[in-house]
Symmetry: C2
Subunit: 351 residues, 2 copies
Amino acid sequence: MDRATTTPSAGRSTIVIASPLEPELVDRLRAVAPDRIDVVHEPDLIPRARYAADHVGDPPGLDAAGIDRWLGILRRADILFDLDWYDPAGLARNAPDLRWVQVTKSGIGETLRRLELDRTSITFTNAAGVHGVPIAEFVVLALLYLVKEVPDLLDAKARRSWEPRRVAQLTGSRVLLVGLGGLGQVIARTLADLGVDVWGVRRSDGPVPDGVARIVSLSEFRSALGDVDALVLACPYTDETHHLIGRDELAAMRPGTFLVNVARGAVVDEAALIEALERGHLGGAALDVVEREPLAADSRLWDLPNLLLSPHRASIVDAENALIVDIFADNLRRYLEGRPLRNVYDATRGY
Amino acid sequence: MDRATTTPSAGRSTIVIASPLEPELVDRLRAVAPDRIDVVHEPDLIPRARYAADHVGDPPGLDAAGIDRWLGILRRADILFDLDWYDPAGLARNAPDLRWVQVTKSGIGETLRRLELDRTSITFTNAAGVHGVPIAEFVVLALLYLVKEVPDLLDAKARRSWEPRRVAQLTGSRVLLVGLGGLGQVIARTLADLGVDVWGVRRSDGPVPDGVARIVSLSEFRSALGDVDALVLACPYTDETHHLIGRDELAAMRPGTFLVNVARGAVVDEAALIEALERGHLGGAALDVVEREPLAADSRLWDLPNLLLSPHRASIVDAENALIVDIFADNLRRYLEGRPLRNVYDATRGY
């Protein structure tokens, strides 16, 4: 990922903190190079976190004077921590000196394309790597939840009925994992440790990652869908992966197959997924992402008993901000030394 | 576990199948030594399985003649597959030649003591080892279910409300694991693979099992309870472990600690546990076992939202009977060759 070099301006650089961040983490950024950077952190001018590691937050409710102050700060920014909360699409105009934005999400292609920020000369670095472990834990939870038939346990409990019966085992089952980047590799290792036969799908070549028993090429993908117990989606969201799983792919899966999506909602054709779950063709699903977030109140996803629905929170853990600041601080040293940054968004690849 | 030698009678031995078993598995037993053993399998005279690997089953509904036929078969038995479904306490009287019973459960001490079969000269071998992997999977499911706050996910889903917020991570948490026998060792390895700091409690000495970061002695047990994020019970049920976790032990745990019981119900004082969960002192619990099974319809356990209740089914998997027959067939060869049996119940240890 070390593709871009971003040269610092002569003299001091100004970092503006644009999403909620704990003061002690702001201090860690200041300590990277106190003689070469100014870190501007005005908590009153940016959203307030509703929970630890919330990067959206409640809006600060500024009056016109407050907005002016914020825009004044943005005008001085060389570097931004997270996209501008106030007018993200206007970033190039509002921050004319801006060279680099450290974003707090792993997958930012969708957002940058929507805001047309991928067409600017600004460098964007993502937080890939931070979310691997918690998301892999969510995948394990999701698969065990489905394999061990937890919805059935909860239903029997609600009826106060003691109903022993056999359930399946995760060990020995086969999972088709789409995406073998940083996130996919953590998922593959974790599932392999649990005795899962992991088949991995990826576009690019390279050594077979730990835990992956077999690489499935894109041309073999459709037929492999019918050979597995579960499909786990952990790929970037790009034009190529938009609705990667549609009606035909779902039909190619054996009855009872499970689907887990920790990529982006639109990797799956949601209408086709809902139908496959309602018909009982799929054995169940777990989604940490949906096509439109927050999920609309009238979505049929809410009503599916065999669906574990997580509001894009699988990656959110207490320690998240500290891990993101680790990446940012490392990138800041690279920036100041003129070395290539890590986790740079590549507009041609789309992630 | 190779403690007992059971000498076969001269001539042919008769094995009677007393709980549901698939015909192909019965044939595998026959094939062990067709010239030296007779395997009696009368499916109409024994319970019918309600699901794969059900060892209790629905009663066969025999009339007096049927009962007579069953008792006639029992009288010829040298070896039994599972305890007598009809009159388990009368085993020594009804099967005067009986030398050995291969039971289908891992933990049989409680049952043998209740039936006073531990005072007979019959050898009992258990199915320990068969249930390790599925129970370890249940423990992982239980901990992730609690750590990732699945009850809260389900509640938000029922209210059709999209509520992202931070959750904790299993990686980096600390678990106190009571019992480091066959089952405990599988659990320890599995949790360690997931990045859990596993502290193990056991009575006996010996090398530290894989995955256990620290051995906690019985004298340190009470204080260690206050140093962990979760307590996992996987010990045998004996006089010593009866109500091992009572009011005082629960009080010694930090607020928010999780409890997972895959041992036997009475290892925990259930009334004290219910109180600790109702008061919110514990963060949640997962029970595969309760003091009295099936759980009474008026138990307060049914109503606890922060409890994952599993009707003693964590160990039940499709492949179970085949694995039990592996143990039985191996023991049968040992028996015919006069070698010590595996998995022998020891009345002095109580497991």
